[in-house]
Subunit: 271 residues, 3 copies
């Protein structure tokens, strides 16, 4: 259930797209939203998602959503299937309402351990779309209007019929045996792994091997190692392990990409 | 005439510049605006306009303005002539008030078919500028204050005398005979042409030749062709024709630039 | 003293980081702030500060702060020492409240001629931090909550004890004898020098030598020289001298970097 909103704060709509800022596409969506819901506070998660990179968009949403008020409407438009038969959906959860294409971009959020999914609908009611919906810019014509009407308090079931069997993508967010993977690489070149501190049996004995480099222990933070040295630590994202270089770029130094394997090794205490 | 604003919504000011985000120049303009008009909702169309690229700024504004409420103030600062005798202007239209340099950046909007121009003034009243106007940052010293004062409800004629004979740039927005041109290339590498579906005599027989590639028919959307294939379709911008590669980058693959020629050919039905 | 706020305008929080926009880190901070202070107007100075570049962040803040209302909270997160013993601080001044790491990023602002520092505290009260503060993302866990609580009107002394002996970095903002330096290079490749028009004894006789180029006089603005020509002028930032190429990129053409030397020469009027 969504928490009651104290003092009637203005509605919040977050935007996440792969549109960049150059062409004004996001700016156009903002105009559509403010035309329908002039009180909305607009905020941006990212518009620098690599073109059509559903996985990165899923990750950005996953790392941010729980820091927003639960009445926030998160509008996500990374939509390589625009104009095809993929559905446009809105999903009401215990921690936000999510609007976007039904292409798996919401999978990471909707399967998060701290979220309950309450309702999902297919956005087909033309009363809550712009007139003359284009075949290629549903961010403007369908998703932005839906987000704005929901922010205005329109119940989801007015926007369309229930959506069942949402597309689920497995983003490999869990480690398997002694293998984990690079789940995301951030701007600083830090590697966020698909393993959390809670998945590690004995943090005092763990080491990580990536390529031909081994990190022999967990650190607390950057300052525990010298400038330019590799470290691994329980990071800021729900205790996922990160591999980084203090004041350096680990991804570039190690030549690593998203999906690459990291081996988990427990040293023998007897040795 | 500007539509009456129901329920007194907060004023909206959109910003479009070639300033990028690195230096904080746009952030400074936001401070000036919020100092004068604390209720303003600030929104961005683009700050990634290539430096001094009036044409791209004109296009971004053109594709976005009609999606904003008609009381929006659009402040545009792409201003290679700053400090010269070019005028600073504000133009009131049926669909927004535009503030910027009189260098043609507003031409595409002001000649749009769905807009009426009601009033234009030259921004010379120092009461509505910052003290000590610099020679090189009129975005901060003249345009941002003007936009904020207008958003506060100051009538345009207080800001300066009527501006006549505004600079007009011809951005080649119309096709000529069987030749059209690439009008804009977006982040995805899609080519937006200066021809709309309404300009095409017989959409069932049309094909497009660009470089040594020919696209033999109009599609509805990306999903009509295989991944990596070229297509042409009536796009989301007022039915302008776009050429794209499904999940690819047409501009890069074809080596195309803004202004390049696309030939329009009608196939012989008898053949 | 902070000016009284007329008509109770909404609080303003500006954000400056080196986080970029790709990963959603700034978007996460925005969520934290709106959760605590739903009325806040959020604005961005820059998120394109080069990673860990304290100097550029200091400059961006310095050039922008005085254009914001004095009740603005400026939250700055360029924090290479995150997780070390560097302090987190908030500083109340005559022209804004500044929140950030105590690593010198505020030095340029706090020593500005037009600012009085009234109070500084160390942000250690956990009641004004997120639960479970991470070791690596204090922007989200400490700085954003502090900025939001301050915007809500919490007095600084509730957030922690007085902070004395703040870290001071000398950013070489003054010329020395006949030598000045490039203080900042902006997006257009313009060079902002650490010398103002007021530091120049005889503006009518001054010339500037950088590398093997000499600029023999001060211009008023770009339009005073031909396209592609070098010029020097008293710029928009507090009269600091700038070197630029009209409609070109001086930094690229001259191969100049921040910190490079520019010689000041006074010509002999008799010669």
């Amino acid at each position: 259930m969504i928490e009651p909103r104290r003092n009637n704060p203005p509605p919040i709509i977050s935007l996440t797209t792969d549109f960049g800022e150059k062409d004004g596409y996001v700016g156009t969506m903002r105009g559509v939203i403010l035309s329908i819901c002039p009180r909305a506070i607009l905020t941006d998660l990212s518009h620098d998602i690599p073109p059509q990179d559903i996985r990165t968009a899923a990750f950005v949403l996953y790392q941010a959503f729980s820091y927003y008020p639960p009445y926030t409407v998160h509008c996500v438009v990374v939509d390589p299937g625009v104009g095809s038969k993929r559905r446009a959906i809105a999903v009401r959860t215990s921690h936000g309402i999510f609007v976007g294409p039904d292409n798996g971009v919401l999978s990471m959020v909707l399967t998060a351990s701290n979220i309950d999914v309450n309702e999902a609908v297919t956005l087909i009611n033309p009363n809550y779309q712009l007139p003359n919906v284009s075949a290629t810019f549903h961010g403007r014509d369908i998703f932005a209007p839906a987000a704005a009407h929901i922010a205005n308090g329109i119940p989801l079931n007015k926007l369309g019929p229930p959506a069942i069997n949402l597309v689920h993508l497995d983003f490999d967010t869990q480690p398997k045996d002694d293998i984990c993977r690079v789940m995301h690489i951030d701007r600083f070149g830090n590697l966020i792994l698909n393993i959390t501190i809670d998945d590690i049996d004995d943090p005092g004995r763990v080491s990580f091997t990536i390529g031909n480099q081994t990190i022999k222990s967990l650190s607390h933070t950057f300052a525990d190692v010298e400038q330019g040295h590799l470290l691994a630590f329980a990071g800021s994202l729900r205790n996922h392990i990160e591999i980084a270089i203090r004041n350096g770029n680990a991804a570039r130094e190690l030549g690593v990409q998203v999906g690459d394997v990291v081996k988990i090794i427990y040293s023998d205490l007897e040795a």
